[in-house]
Amino acid sequence: MSIAIRTAVAAVIALAIAPAAQAHRSWLAPSATVLSGAEPWVTVDGAVSNTLFYPDHVAMRLDGLKAIGPDGAPVPIQNGSTGKYRSTFDLQLKTPGTYKISNASEGMSASYKLGGETKRWRGSAADFATAIPKDATEVQASSSARRVETFVTSGAPSTGALKVTGKGLELEPITHPNDLVASEKARFKLLADGKPASDVEVEVVLGATRYRAKGQEFKVKTGADGVFEVKWPEPGMYWIEASVRGQDPSGLARNSGYAATFEVLPD
């Protein structure tokens, strides 16, 4: 990794580089998560906003979007379109089982000084080596990996689509994500680059906040084994998020984020 050489210079974690959009919540909202019948369809909204699940800020970019079918193979995303506030796309569940929909993105950001001026740069890791001018000083760089997911199931839940990639922050379900009911606690394992992410705060937020005087929002923490448990206060569409800051093997600052939407059904 040639990046490693350059960034060995980078002293501290680049706090200032995080784009404003990261303060908002990235979410995927499926029209249904538990389906029956032959080859059902789901339609999914994707957006970045503060209020869940109301698209009122910016549409989610669909570049990194992928759907994995019950057999672990990719499934085509159909009718994708991006509007002002939200993107939408459809997915046909041609075979029974669970589908994972994820939008993963990786990138690098850097700030540096050039001729007394502070410059910022964002781009891919591949471009980083050539993007920063040779005479730049005070180069501070960090990489980021973000993943936004949701799950839908036709018929009985299956696990073939749930395999993790081992890159960035990911969720390994213990309780099946499409087998959630309000009366039962759910357990999931958070993984950072495939290893248990311990002592990480996970934010849990219930959607449909517009019609409530007080939103349902709380935090739980992962244990040494990366496992966290959620007791759902009521049925609804929930959004969870976690993020970790660390270093990649080369010592480069690295921010990893994970967010997912879960539907918790009434008993």
Binding site: V34, L35, S36, G37, A38, G155, A156, P266, D267
Partner: protein
């Protein structure tokens, strides 16, 4: 109406073939009342009947009344609206299933009789007969009625009344 015919035929055959079948004459009779509702848009409810053990796990699905006649089997897309049944049993079944699936029923009282043959493999113990109804443009209701199996002599029928989507559910067992 294969669902109705085949058990009758089966009962008739076994009745002829196996005379010393006193124990096999045991049965579970369930009466399900579907209320007449005064609503602008009425669709007959989807109804599932199943048996649960004390741990509330499904032991056996007895009946599923749904619309299996629509093009592309579209009626199956609402089976999941019987949420408890779908999660506990439905999503693992293949429908239509002989002797289990049948068409939706009109408002009124409907009787199903479950024979000892059909209850084969159900261990002695306390159970609940569960009825779940889900109606398009309507609501959902789940009713549990306790019974013990095999039937005890002199066991009285038990009735639990629904309040919205279901009327009285009566379970009677006879040895």
């Amino acid at each position: 109406m294969r669902a109705v015919k085949s058990p009758t035929l089966f009962a008739a055959l076994t009745g002829v073939a196996a005379l010393p079948a006193a124990a096999d004459a045991a049965e579970l009779a369930v009466s399900v009342e579907i209320p007449r509702l005064s609503v602008a848009e009425y669709h007959r409810p989807y109804v599932a009947l199943w048996i649960e053990g004390p741990d509330e796990a499904a032991v056996k699905t007895l009946a599923v009344w749904y619309n299996g006649k629509l093009a592309k089997n579209e009626g199956a897309s609402w089976l999941k609206d019987m949420r408890q049944w779908w999660r506990k049993a439905g999503r693992g079944l293949t429908l239509p299933a002989d002797g289990v699936s049948g068409p939706t029923k009109a408002p009124g009282k409907h009787q199903i009789v479950v024979t000892a043959q059909q209850m084969a493999g159900v261990a002695p113990g306390q159970y609940s007969l569960v009825v779940e109804a889900a109606r398009e443009v309507g609501g959902r209701e789940v009713i549990r009625v306790p019974f013990s199996w095999p039937p005890k002599a002199g066991a009285k029928p038990a009735t639990v009344a629904g309040t919205t989507e279901l009327g009285a559910i009566t379970v009677a067992t006879k040895p």
